[in-house]
């Protein structure tokens, strides 16, 4: 029994936000919902929450239409962050947990436990307006999970967090998954999705482009890659001797080379060794999610992220 998004349609005036979007999330999974701004991620989440009505199609959880389920079925971290500016952190957390039916004393206990694990106990009695954006985001995350919802919907949860907090949040995601929660999060940061998700869906303009287990999605383009790291000359001059091999991402440390169909990875390694280059690292890899996204959608999920050196995903 899973979370099923079934042929969702939604228009805002003349703008088509969702155009028959369909995918399925298995329970107990961490699911990445990937797309550029305007792809329809937030609209899908709002329809799932029952805040918006779909023009057509439905979202069901364990066979029941989501808007008929109690609101506490879902924990929601909206993309637009916001808390009551003048309310104290602990009061806000108890308020939101209370709306979901958590008794005040339990809400307080759980809230303090979460604050501790996010290394933020000292924030409990601060007003929200005194917090940094990253800290506000952590508080909102806690507000979304305090009532232990079976399904978590997180809209761009990693945006705006520093690396330490990204790590803390990733750990929390995995722990929630281990406790049997279904975690759906949207992002345009492909490397985060690669690191966390068992399954992903790539959406563009309200339509599903490709989806399924991460491995299948990465292989969906049919492209093959090798990653290589050599001592000394990182420009790889010897590669010119290998027809059908092309550097698609040059790096000082490690470069990614795409292989045309028919060309075996060994040929690249052989050429490197023959040229006398000292190979420090060599791996046969699937294309990065970033690459898959660009192949399918025709542009990167986020132009800015694309122009920056992309962090390596573990193969």
């Amino acid at each position: 029994m899973s979370l099923v998004v079934d042929h969702l349609h939604k228009r805002f005036g003349s703008v088509v936000a969702l155009d028959g979007l369909t995918f399925e999330v298995a329970p107990g999974q961490v699911f990445g919902f990937l797309g550029a701004n305007g792809a329809g991620k937030t609209t899908t989440m709002r329809i799932t929450l029952g805040v918006l009505e779909a023009d057509g199609g439905a979202v069901t959880w364990q066979g029941t239409e989501s808007h008929r389920l109690p609101r506490s079925t879902f924990g929601y971290l909206p993309e637009e962050r916001g808390l009551y500016p003048r309310m104290r952190v602990l009061d806000q957390l108890r308020f939101f947990a209370g709306l979901h039916g958590v008794p005040p004393d339990r809400a307080r206990r759980e809230a303090l436990a979460w604050l501790r694990r996010f290394r933020a106990e000292d924030l409990a009695n601060r007003r929200a307006e005194q917090l940094s954006k990253g800290n506000q985001q952590k508080i909102q995350f806690i507000a979304a999970v305090l009532h232990e919802p079976p399904v978590l919907l997180m809209d761009e949860p990693f945006t705006g967090l520093d690396p330490v907090n990204v790590m803390l949040l990733r750990e929390a995601f995995l722990e929630l998954r281990d406790r049997g929660r279904t975690v759906v999060f949207s992002t345009h940061q492909m490397e985060v999705a690669e690191a966390l998700c068992e399954s992903v869906a790539i959406v563009d303009r309200g339509r599903m482009v490709v989806g399924g287990p991460l491995r299948d999605v990465r292989r969906s383009t049919g492209r093959r890659m090798v990653r290589i790291s050599v001592a000394g000359d990182h420009r790889l001059p010897w590669l010119a001797a290998v027809p059908g091999a092309m550097v698609i991402q040059a790096g000082m440390d490690r470069s990614t080379i795409e292989l045309e169909p028919g060309l075996e990875p060994d040929a690249v390694l052989a050429a490197a060794v023959t040229s006398g280059a000292r190979v420090l690292h060599f791996e046969v890899a699937d294309p990065s999610l970033e690459q898959v996204f660009i192949d399918h959608v025709g542009r990167p999920a986020d132009e800015e992220v694309h122009l920056l050196p992309v962090a390596e995903g573990a193969a």
């Binding site: 709002r46 609101r71 909206p78 309310m87």
Partner: protein, 436 residues
């Protein structure tokens, strides 16, 4: 169907709103300011009483017996005006004017040229009879003074008309009658002037209070909704509670905060009114007439005010909540605050007109219309010319309208809170209502 869960959420939202409002510095300041203002208004009757001391009342005197009127004027002028001057420093109370006949004098009273007309005739037993015509402008304290004057006239007349004292002294008869108004509502019980003044003061207080509080607290609701939208906490709220829980909770919470403020403002004002009666008595001497300062502030009127405040607030708050949900930024609130207050202002004018005691068709109808009845009916109740069925109709219409408008507001709110950026226009409103 209202579940326990929904009730709890309404209560949670209401409690949060109440705490946020009452803890705000603006609440403390506005409460102090309004309480001060209410105390000043409560002191008005005392001021009126002071001013009243300096007022000269014109009274016509007519008699069927030639010369009697002139003699009476001489007696009463010397007696009454001298009497009172001994107390408070020589101000003249009555100005007695001879009139040729009772009919013209009574007409002048009806036209408002005179406060009262005194007609004197002699009975078969030789005793004098005094009849005072008025239309409510003569206070009971002043009527008592006239009776004292009449007695003096009677005594002097007795000693003068039969020097031998062959005829026994007959106490002059004295009666105050309603001259009827030119509008033709003679026969209705005329208010005592002091009582009427008190009713108008109480009426003004209630009309101004209703108007200010409904518009003011209505704006609290709108600004609360806009603040939640602009701070984006709305996204979390709407995923945790339903639109109806949020709207009703907000209205209840802010309503209770408003009611607390009204109570905090009214208590010192009522105490001042009660005390000012005492202060007045101490300063100006006991005064039978103006003891009625608070007479118009009956428990029934207070109950009516509470009923109209609660229902009226429900109505205005729902409208303001719906309107607020269509705005994205707090700056936008300023542009819609004025148009939003137009319905209230439109009801304020008939309410003020009704204070004069007028019961024209427009005022009657305005006192049934839900948006206006909280002001207009309060005003009519204060001056006291309302049929029971009118009250029932007016409250009944409010009771029916409030839930309907609230449901409509929830519909607008549900659509409005997830809309950002669109400028508020009638079209947006219509789309929100239609689209649900």
């Amino acid at each position: 169907m209202i579940t326990a869960h929904a009730r709890r959420n309404v209560w949670l939202v209401a409690r949060r709103e109440f705490a946020e409002r009452t803890k705000a510095r603006a609440f403390v300041f506005s409460t102090l300011l309004l309480a001060g203002l209410a105390v000043v208004v409560a002191l008005i009757p005392l001021g009126v009483r002071l001013a009243d001391k300096a007022t000269i009342l014109r009274v016509a005197v007519t008699s069927t017996e030639p010369g009697l009127a002139a003699t009476a004027i001489g007696t009463m002028d010397g007696f009454l005006n001298a009497q009172t001057s001994s107390g408070t420093g020589g101000s003249k109370v009555f100005d007695f004017v001879p009139y040729p006949d009772e009919t013209t004098a009574a007409q002048s009273v009806r036209d408002g040229k005179l406060v009262a007309a005194m007609s004197i005739d002699r009975g078969a037993d030789g005793g004098l009879g005094f009849t005072v015509f008025n239309i409510g402008a003569l206070g009971s304290d002043k009527a008592q003074l006239l009776q004292v004057g009449a007695f003096a006239v009677g005594v002097l007349d007795w000693t003068r008309s039969n020097p031998g004292a062959t005829r026994p002294f007959v106490t002059p008869s004295f009666s105050v009658v309603d001259a009827g108004s030119s509008a033709g509502n003679a026969g209705q019980p005329a208010f005592d002037a002091a009582d009427y003044a008190s009713r108008r003061i109480v009426g003004i207080v209630f009309v101004v209070l209703s108007f200010l509080t409904l518009v003011f607290y209505g704006l609290w609701v709108a600004s609360g909704v806009v603040a939640e939208k602009s701070s984006r906490v709305m996204e979390m709220l709407i995923s945790a509670a339903t639109a109806s829980q949020l709207v009703v909770g907000k209205i209840v919470g802010i309503g209770l905060a408003g009611l607390s403020q009204v109570t905090l403002v009214l208590i010192p004002a009522v105490l001042t009114m009660l005390l000012s009666g005492r202060i007045g008595d101490a300063l100006l001497g006991p005064d039978a007439g103006t003891g009625a300062t608070l007479s118009a502030l009956s428990p029934g009127l207070l109950v009516a005010f509470m009923v109209y405040f609660v229902l009226g607030f429900g109505l205005y708050a729902a409208l303001y909540a719906g309107a607020g949900s269509l705005l994205s930024r707090e700056e936008d609130l300023q542009t819609v605050a004025l148009p939003l207050s137009i319905p209230a202002v439109a009801g304020y004018f008939p309410a003020v007109l009704a204070l004069s005691g007028s019961t024209s068709g427009v005022i009657r109808i305005a006192s049934y219309i839900p948006l206006w009845s909280p002001f207009v009916m309060m005003s009519r109740l204060a001056v006291g010319k309302v049929e029971p069925w009118e009250l029932a109709l007016s409250i009944g219409l409010l009771v029916v309208t409030v839930p309907l408008v609230t449901l409509l507001a929830i519909r607008v709110y549900r659509a409005g809170v997830v809309m950002y950026g669109q400028p508020p226009s009638p079209r947006t409103f219509w789309r929100a209502i239609r689209g649900g």
